[in-house]
Subunit: 365 residues, 4 copies
């Protein structure tokens, strides 16, 4: 399905870095969900470049909802969000020789689209295209919150610098929602920013790991095998540009444990069961067990760097040396946080609607 | 789509550990692909338990192809493979109290299916259900090989013990194909087996990391965003039981590099380009760049262990202590190798058929 | 998706006329639905050739359910039904020159599969492959009946002979369920059978129209545009071999009415509304309105006839005259009834599960 | 998938009658297809109300392409077309009591969306939402034409008045493309318009049958069973508002023939075969046979009429009498022609891309 994902709640993404507008369509959202423009604006602000650690291209990220909302709530029919590209500088690109940026999609897009691709600013492959997903995710997050399902993501490590672990989830989620640099420990946040600036000073970039926790998902959601919660989440997470790894619960660290340590002991609680640890990240056999869903995504260093790189010309096919100009982020990990939160919320809505039907997310059901 | 995956080449999986037969249907395979029964039998033999490091339940894995093959080649219509469950001992389960095995799907299946699930031996959630995928994958691998696309998987680490890296890929692939314990360095293989036996001796289990390399995929395959090669592969990989992490190229290690190290320098080669390193694992912007596809999957320790564990009864909802009997693997990492190879081959066939059409894998096109 | 259809409840079909077994997999059925083997056997008996008006190839249609049922009810995981091909006579085909039967898929399968198709008895394109759908549909019908949703299909016309209209739906459905020749008026049934025998006597065949009514579907099911109830039903109905037309409500006859006649007047009833007529066949804007769903399918005359026909050889590409031998039906309209009922029930289950969630069809929800 | 359809070439539809903009996203179109704004404008003009036989609400149908086109050709990434709703008069609706229009989706949308739907002018269910499909279809038609695949649709009957049959297809297609009232015989066109005006004079409406022919499709396209060409086309055709019947080839008329008449005799031609008649409408066993694809769609009379009708209030649930005001079409058959052509072209592109790969429709392949 290419640029559409989801079964009961589906998202379709479109747009290019230097097009007139970018946007997405969310289909299958239950009717009656409040659409709060300030919540969308706030989510977009968490994705926006800010200060010295980000690109100088700052978009206003004004947005328009052209369908699917009536009298302030979702109608249940497709909701289209449009975001204008106001800060583009296409003339930067029009006449420049096309040198493939290593690590970026320039070369592979050229292979796939035979040179017809809109290459300006990375075209459809630009990280900019994730902005509409963030807007859509903000609506999904509101719908989940009304059901008591909340989530938050922090930078668990940037290079070798690690944040503290999640502690009081509600408080941590609230704090993360108020900052554009989502780190729980202030001292480590400062160290991380220095680490970014040091790389930026050399025309280089850095990557990091984002850790996400979801609280409140009911047990029994997901499917065996091909539609496991891990499968559906990872499918979406790996569609976020720069993500190169995804692990659930203790993930790769589980491979160094024994079963007796990796298995989460279970105890009766209410009508069901709870686990004393959560090494499985809330998912057994592809299906939620009621514990928090926990996963981490590896975000590679931004490929667009100023340091000289060996590459090829897409025009001539010849070897070239690339010294990139323009406006680029030395780190996108903090900005990617908003995208990870958004796409997670969208997948959770889809999982719930698959399981419990279209109206599950509706205030009137 | 639950137990069906794939767009142009799709697989549907069915069966339970103690049912009469298990199987799968592959649809969308090109017509004319040779179906070699010995290649299927060989692939199944690589998944079969063997020796002291595996369960004592050894299935003959005889299989029957009941559709989709005519005169030794695929017809192009759905191919159904059936494998009988010959070695089941259902009486082990019929009257036993149902205690949820920590780390296994027992509890979540109960939440999802309200107690109607076939719980014997894990039912549909048993690792046994992956056998038909291995059979299907063997056909897919043959079709890929005819196009010059080959792949291999080794245990890159088991606990803290690491295998050597891939070197001569063709030779390494050939060697891996001849052993049920897919480790490239014999001394480390021996160390790993001791590590397994040590855990087994204590009624415990271990996990590990599998590394897969695919050689020969053309560039320009895959889609931006939601159908990126990473998205499609990870979706399938996370549907393999016990997989809790997936990373492409240098994956999580990329988060500790700078961009100048993470980016693969490019040089002209033939009509296209090659990369001097392969930290991206052959995928830029979700699309193949012609370099080998490289990924690693984290396989958690087998959850079925003999050590006493805290759990709950699915019959009474009360707390219980579980001391598991029956026949279980102390390690499934080596057996999971055959499954990872198989599902990788199936996804690659689907990617190629999406890109180049139904007949791409056909000898007559 | 080729041989898989459905979103929440999906069916995958496989097999060939002369293969060892044919079958299907139903996925997404709620857990706990009773699976009555006699109901399946009865449904299959309504599809079976019977008496002088049918082919002499009579299959016993014994069936096996190899997964997805435990202790007599559905588990919620994929249910695979297998039906052996016991009455095949492959030697009829092995060495015969391959002449394309006009009106059949012989030629188009040859174009699509390049000669690799299993052509014996029509292979995967044989009407025989619908038997597993009938078995699957029988389970779906039971699940619907438990919710008060019933359906029935009669031959509304065969050639120029028309059956009477539905009257007392419950009584008519019951009567249709007891006969292999589903006609409501006995005298017209006799006339239709004579009409078939007259054609058969000349080595020819006939077609007819089937009319289906569904009672008890709730209002508000279906989607606008691409997943309208008409779209989803017609997609499935046109996959039944020999169906060449589908109309809902008054269908083509609506094109001769004025709006004032075609519109169904509405009156308040209970918490909703009812319609005084049902020219729309229970569907407004793609969504059920609570009135009975009504549609008709046009079944063309069986293409396999004994009369001489002009055709081409698939072996040589040369012109030939075909004088078909073997065992063929002079009419399949009455047998197609069982298939239409089955696939309708499967689509309805899918529509309900999409709308109300996986468990809607479960006795325990 | 609700408002998204297609596998290799997919369309997502959004918007409401009184929203700011309506639009659609086409994904999977090959790169390099020329996008001619005048061809799109012309297609939209064929859908636009014109003269006395149409509604007085005339939209300018200006459109914007905000993504997926670069330097005048498709990029291969999603193409989003937006059309502003310039001529809406929402105040007509805001304070009116909501009486369900019989035959329209007002009541069923209310059941499905619980009153949250945007009801103004039919909201998402308005025929207006088909305008973006027409724009998208115009691009698809250009891509097909470059491969020698052409199509045309005429009103084969309006009420009891029949047009002449197609004769010289190329000439007929050309003539149809130049008129907003697609009838081949001028005298019958005049009679049809009088028939419309007579109904309009009484505040009533009429329906008709559209017949479509596709020329140039290669043989061997489509799938057995669930993705038959009939299944895929009918799925889309029944998503066009007001379509209540679809038949292929001779359709319902086949049910009155014998097999010897219904079967198309075949003769060798070139490397393949041709049929001497085309009663099957170019499709055998769900797969194209190389003959023209022929189908007819039944378009019911416009449900919005001025005559008094019995209905219910969606506000109070009480019985009411509806005397509709506002601007409505007495006939939409001629306007629906543009929609049928468009969606047909989109399905054909999808069928070809499924079969032959993404690049099949690209000028550079």
């Amino acid at each position: 399905m290419k640029n559409t994902i989801g079964q009961s709640v589906a998202v379709t993404l479109f747009g290019e870095s230097h097009g007139e507008e970018i946007g997405c369509v969310i289909d299958g959202l239950a009717p009656g969900i409040p659409v709060k423009e300030d919540a969308i604006a706030h989510a977009l602000s968490l994705r926006r470049p800010a200060g010295r650690i980000s690109t100088a291209r700052v978009e206003s990220d004004s947005f328009r909802i052209v369908s699917g909302v009536f009298r302030g709530v979702t109608t249940g029919t497709p909701l289209c969000i449009l975001i204008p590209n106001s800060a583009k500088r296409s003339t930067d690109y029009e006449n420049a020789p096309r040198l493939a940026r290593p690590g970026h999609a320039d070369y592979t897009a050229h292979c796939k689209y035979h040179g017809f691709e809109d290459f300006r600013g990375g075209g459809h492959f630009s990280g900019r295209i994730t902005a509409p997903l963030v807007a859509a995710g903000a609506i999904a997050k509101e719908a989940l919150a009304a059901l008591g399902i909340t989530l938050g993501t922090h930078i668990s490590s940037l290079g070798e610098i690690r944040d503290r672990d999640f502690a009081d989830l509600a408080a941590d989620f609230a704090a993360l929602n108020e900052t554009t640099f989502p780190v729980l420990d202030d001292a480590r946040a400062a160290a991380m920013q220095e680490y970014i600036l040091a790389a930026a000073g050399e025309g280089d970039s850095v990557g990091g790991v984002l850790e996400t926790v979801v609280l409140g998902m009911p047990s029994g959601v997901g499917e065996p095998y091909f539609d496991s919660v891990e499968s559906q989440l990872s499918h979406m997470l790996f569609s976020v540009p720069a993500v190169k790894g995804v692990e659930f619960g203790d993930g790769f660290a589980l491979t160094k444990m024994r079963g007796s340590e990796a298995n989460d002991p279970m105890r009766a609680e209410g009508n069901g069961a709870t686990t004393l640890t959560n090494r499985a990240g809330g998912i057994y056999g592809g299906i939620t067990n009621g514990a928090p869903i926990v996963f981490r995504t590896a975000v590679k260093p931004t490929p667009s760097i100023y340091k000289e790189q060996l590459t090829v010309s897409l025009d001539t096919g010849k070897n070239e040396t690339l010294a990139l100009g323009g406006r680029h982020d030395p780190c996108i990990v903090h900005r990617a946080r908003a995208v990870i939160d958004a796409v997670t919320a969208l997948v959770l809505c889809d999982l719930l609607a698959q399981r419990y039907g279209t109206d599950y997310l509706s205030p009137k059901k």
